[in-house]
Symmetry: D2
Subunit: 340 residues, 4 copies
């Protein structure tokens, strides 16, 4: 927007996910991806082969300090997010942060405040919110099909890359926490988490987390890097219908069950009677548009239209709050930790 | 064994499970099922139609006090187990108790002590130990195929009957806890459990439990009466191979994955390096003999041969200990509870 | 109906299927199952243990010639159906024949004519017509949901018992042929069939059959006794929707796909253009009532009410016509054989 | 090999499959992909964006007549294969033809003769032969694990693009025919095929084919463009073990069943007795190398090493022979057609 009507964009980090970001931002409208920074020369060479028009730089600062750049996408390890984002915001740049947004809730809160003061867009990349499956489930909850949410139970396990700096919840749960927070607008109160580190370095490779609410809702997350099979399976129960969301199904990801129960207490309040109901199953057609392209477009358009993106920073901060509480709970033997 | 060489047997309780017990004990060798007690006349009528040779009685005491009866099977609600078993043992009868064995660990311990003093067989019916699938998994663990156990992760959910007196863990988890205790001979140290009661009567219909060990092992249980789909799925990971046990598969219940990882720490102890391995999958043929028939036979033969049954009372007591701790943990906000 | 208002019934043949028939007719209303005939004494002993009130006889004639018996169920090998049924009809008895009804179309035609003349019910037991799945599919076709039927493609394979006298089509295909004829009221014109006999006795253990119509419909059947996996899978395509019917699914047997295509020819009649459509999937709840009980009830009620049963003899005869043509086609190298 | 030690390569046709060919030949060693021909200017523009170093030309002849080009890959509609290949061979170029190789067996035979005389490599691209799954199955058959092949039963159906010039067998069956011919070295004798054209233009969109042998082997193919679900499923039975090959499984594509039966005839040659056996299932790990890259490499190396490629022209010709016979059989009402 400096010299032309398009957003000038730089991406910091050209690793596994950075490659996907570059590929998508390259084709999004209303923006020009002009720079990519990565400290590894071989990564810049790989970039040059596929995208000769993008300038590769070794230093993140070459992007952050470049007055021609309007917006910065940060796809580096989590511990570096806060410093890079702060500098970028200070330089007047819009910022998109990979998930999880920061290492602590306090960092996220500070960045949000900065962005607000300076009128800049700050966004967290929770890509799953842009999938056809999550959009369809949001519809089914918003229009009342599901009824009052009663539970959210997610399993995300596979034989995964052990991360050197964050545990399996920080690595895998952000997807499911962001889906939970996006789908169900209720405020989580506390966390219980347990886990184990088979590498004995304090970094759990298996972990379980319960998210407690003041309402009739409970959420549970099962994450592992050490499963022989890949499972990405979520159950979402309402008092009218229930959803099974299997992200590994090629096309039938969301199944809506006309299943439920009603309970009432007898006159003497001694017995609870429960009526069960099972009925048809319905598998809605899901849009197959690539979620990452929609996310990239949302970032660019929310800058241009000065509106809040779908995957906004406050949601990103809530995800970090939950993760922070989970870590504290694991360290304290699974005891309940209030969410900040 | 009073007047003939066969065990004279009475069954107390002719409900859903009692019906299965009667059908199986009726055909087991070396015993005669002579009496069945149930307080509901219509149940006795149903019995008489199918098994005219079995005497139906309305009072449990008619069995417990009958000097001609050698052994009693108790298939009544859990809260009544302890009193009935105590009387039966006092009268010199061998006792088989349905799972869970008793309402408290203390009750189980008292019964075990009584049986031991009197030289009587006391057994808990954990039928799953007699399935071909569990027997095959026991083999694979005992012969070292799996290596050092690292995790046990069980999901047992469906749209189930809400029980009026016990929560979903007491109802569903005994199966999986008994499988865990049977397969892996390691001592669980503590429990964390969380859950929710959508009926607001203090009886959880969804609950999650982590079982902690002093070793590198962790176990987790996910139980629900409110799932639209039925899942009975357990992952068991060792440091050599990993098992997926899907009890709903008609014939391919146990899958053995040649999947694993090895980790080592670099010289400066800063980084953990992990090597991954994926290989063939092997699906052993499983015996399809009915587990309940084997269990019934084991009870009779352990009386005759004066030996410990596979599903022995000490294992039953450990299951109750875990359940008791889980209930305490739920009531205390998920905090860690030591197992007695 | 002789001495009381209930149908007096005899069953000939107490083998695998006969056992199921006895169990079901025993509980059906408005009839009394008084006799069962089987030439094997051990089978009669087995009968006596479970059903002491039913009289077991060694000779089929003891049933066929008994004036107190109103109706006869014939569950013997196919080759004996015709003679037994003829005698029974001659003696004024209503007759239910197991599938396939007879060995030839001519035999079936003769029996139908006899029954008609004498005002007796003659019925073939095509049990699948009474399943919830087939009833639901019949609804979806009758109410126009599926549109114009375009294809019916059935696979019924497993590691099955090689029959000593009939090939795999005579053994397995009657189920699917009867479903086809019941669901789609169009007249099959000709048959092509191929197959192989690995036992070299002229009895095919693998066979394939195409049923041709004058309309836009085609049907295909894949039957095998030598598959390592059990598959019972049928695709039914209409020009509006398509069905996948998987009989091995415990509850989700029928899936309705909002999938289709439309074709038109361009002005110069040179090119065909096809439009595709994929949409939601819908899995209707299926009644789980035991089909055999409904079939037994239909036999009894069609006698009492003097109405045509659902699985009527004409349908049974058409099934035999198709099988007869298939056998001729196999013997003639797969050439097209007109259906009588 | 003209001016340097690498094969100079041109590809004719930059449609859907041509794009995949270009991507793979671009990275294969020992060759230089210098030219791509396509009559559509927009396709050449698309090429130039991704591969600026490859020269795009509008005329196939610009490649075929270019003396600097050593080898030509032909990925145009089937009807044009023969003329293009003949010209290229005449000009001394090695030729890779997309599947099916030609429209008639006679054309294929002529091209093979030409190539042989001129010492040129002629190859058909049956990519599936290079997949890890087919290679593993070839191993299991060659080393005797499967025993004597008894049947090959393939289903390849989905909601597919109706082809304007060839029927569904010409479109889909070449994959499975080439797998059959590659795995089992037995000579097919005759074909029976049936089908239907819902577009009424003589181009079948559903077709079934049986391939007959003089031995104990039978093969069957079920192809459709009008299925609501995508199925790619093949059963291969031997007299020792049986294989289920499901190409849609992400990693567990090949399952080996220790299932079988043995039959013997009794002394009086009246009865065939069959013994059944079911045992373990074994899922070998499959190489995940991209098959198309291996195919491309095989073409280049078979030129350099003057050896026969795996997917050789004689196999390609046999595939065409089978297709030609199938078409004749359909036109003749499914009657048996000898394979040339």
């Amino acid at each position: 927007m400096k010299n032309n009507s398009k957003i000038n964009l730089g991406i910091i980090g050209y690793g596994y996910w950075g490659t996907n970001l570059v590929r998508n931002f390259f084709t999004v409208g209303d923006c020009i991806l002009s720079h990519v920074a990565d400290g590894r020369p071989d990564r810049l060479e790989a970039l040059a082969k596929i995208f000769p028009t993008i300038k590769g730089v070794l230093e993140a600062n070459d992007i952050i300090n470049d007055p021609a750049i309007d917006a910065v996408v940060i796809a580096t390890p989590v511990w570096s997010h806060y410093e890079l984002a702060k500098k970028a915001l200070n330089n007047g740049k819009h910022v998109l942060l990979e998930k999880p947004m920061t290492s602590t809730r306090a960092q996220a809160a500070e960045l949000i405040e900065m962005a607000e003061k300076m009128g800049l867009t700050l966004m967290a990349d929770h890509t799953f919110l842009y999938t056809g499956a999550v959009q369809k489930m949001k519809e089914l909850i918003t229009d009342g099909t599901l009824g009052q949410p009663a539970y959210f139970d997610s399993t995300r396990i596979n034989l995964g890359l052990f991360q050197p700096d964050v545990n399996v919840l920080w690595d895998l749960a952000p997807h499911d926490i962001s889906i939970l927070l996006h789908l169900i607008e209720d405020t989580p109160i506390s966390i219980n988490a347990t886990g184990i580190s088979h590498t004995h370095n304090g970094i759990e490779n298996i972990a379980y987390m319960t998210v407690n609410y003041d309402s009739d809702l409970i959420a549970h997350f099962n994450c592992s890097w050490t499963s022989p099979v890949k499972i990405r399976h979520t159950l979402i129960g309402g008092d009218k219908k229930m959803i099974v969301y299997n992200d590994l199904e090629p096309s039938e990801k969301v199944r809506v069950y006309d299943t439920g129960y009603q309970h009432k207490t007898d006159d003497e309040k001694k017995h609870v009677m429960v009526d069960y109901r099972t009925g048809d199953v319905y598998i809605p057609k899901i849009s197959s548009r690539e979620a990452l392209a929609s996310m990239a477009n949302d970032f660019v358009q929310s800058i241009i239209q000065k509106r809040k993106p779908l995957s906004h920073a406050e949601l990103g901060m809530k995800v970090v709050s939950v993760l922070e509480a989970s870590q504290l709970s694991i360290k304290n033997g699974g005891t309940s930790i209030k969410i900040a």
